[in-house]
């Protein structure tokens, strides 16, 4: 007599065999074969043994969950506040240094402008006072 494959028996115990013909064949075989019936029974016994697997849970896990959630949201708020104040401080530092740089540059430009203006003025003065007048006078003389 050909026995039922053990993996098929395991599926049969779990009611995972969909094919009606196979199911009926196994059922008929179990009625006449002690060897397969023993295996089937041992699988059933294992199932009932494993059903006892459990772990004791806490008194009120939901309360613990809510507390954890509140704690997390508070720390997120604190983090947000910290990031916000850090960002504002950074922005202020940037603004102040930017304004200072701008001010300094402007002053520098004014100074350079003043210096260069005076240099230009001086050269114009020189130009008009000496060279140009000499040129003019030369031209005049030539004419």
């Amino acid at each position: 007599m050909k026995h039922v494959e053990k993996i098929l028996l395991s599926k049969y115990v779990d009611k995972e065999i969909e094919d009606e013909k196979t199911k009926n064949e196994i059922k008929r075989h179990l009625n006449v074969c002690n060897y397969c019936m023993d295996i089937y029974n041992s699988y059933i016994n294992i199932n009932s043994l494993i059903k006892n697997y459990d772990i004791k849970s806490d008194e009120n896990p939901y309360l613990a969950f809510v507390q954890k959630k509140v704690k997390l949201s508070n720390s997120m708020k604190t983090n947000f506040r910290f990031s916000l104040s850090f960002g504002i401080t950074l922005a202020l530092i940037f603004l102040i240094s930017f304004s200072l740089t701008l001010f300094a540059t402007k002053r520098n430009v004014d100074f350079t402008k003043r210096v260069s203006t005076s240099v230009v003025d001086m050269s114009f003065d020189n130009f008009f006072s000496e060279d140009y007048s000499s040129v003019v006078s030369t031209v005049n003389f030539d004419k």
Partner: protein
């Protein structure tokens, strides 16, 4: 209709509309199931408790993104499996970093009432099994999941689930015979 009798999907819809009490029902419906799955990985009561809380925080935050492609139970079990595995990885890294010998050992649970002989035996037997066999078997026998759903949770084929459960049964049978328990 009594709120407790509503199915997961309706409770989720209500929660997303702002009803916090619907989440409480989901929490209470799944806490022990998730805790059992996590414990089957961590083998440590306190770690299991912490990881389970983290899982529910994750579920609370990501329910908006739950696409309903699978059943909610499949989705939450998948998160449980993934988070348990990453917890173990993280713990194992820390163990390597600090060389603490006791990390990962099965910790004796401190319980006021001693667990029954059957409960202790069931735990002993399950922890003798390789991880995937143990989880597939718990999902099937304790949580009543079909092979198809277990396959989705463990991200393996249905054939693989068939084989995992069969091998789990055979290993348990051998263990019981060797120890003359059954």
């Amino acid at each position: 209709m009594e709120k407790n009798n509503l199915n997961d999907e309706i409770l989720i819809e209500n929660f997303l509309k702002g009803d916090e009490s619907s989440f409480k029902i989901i929490f209470e419906r799944y806490y022990e199931k998730v805790n059992r799955i996590v414990y089957s990985y961590t083998k440590n009561y306190d770690d299991a408790k912490d990881v389970t809380q983290e899982i529910f925080l994750k579920v609370y935050e990501s329910l908006k993104s739950f696409k309903k492609k699978s059943k909610f139970s499949t989705w939450i079990y998948r998160i449980s499996v993934n988070m348990s595995i990453s917890f173990l990885r993280k713990k194992s890294k820390e163990k390597n970093l600090f060389s603490i010998d006791e990390v990962g050992d099965i910790e004796e649970r401190v319980e006021e009432d001693e667990p029954s002989y059957d409960r202790k035996l069931a735990e002993k037997i399950l922890f003798e099994l390789p991880e995937n066999q143990r989880l597939a078997f718990i999902l099937s026998q304790k949580e009543g999941k079909r092979y198809k759903e277990i396959a989705q949770i463990l991200n393996v084929s249905e054939k693989a689930v068939e084989s995992l459960i069969y091998r789990a049964r055979e290993n348990i049978k051998n263990f019981l015979e060797k120890n003359k328990i059954m």
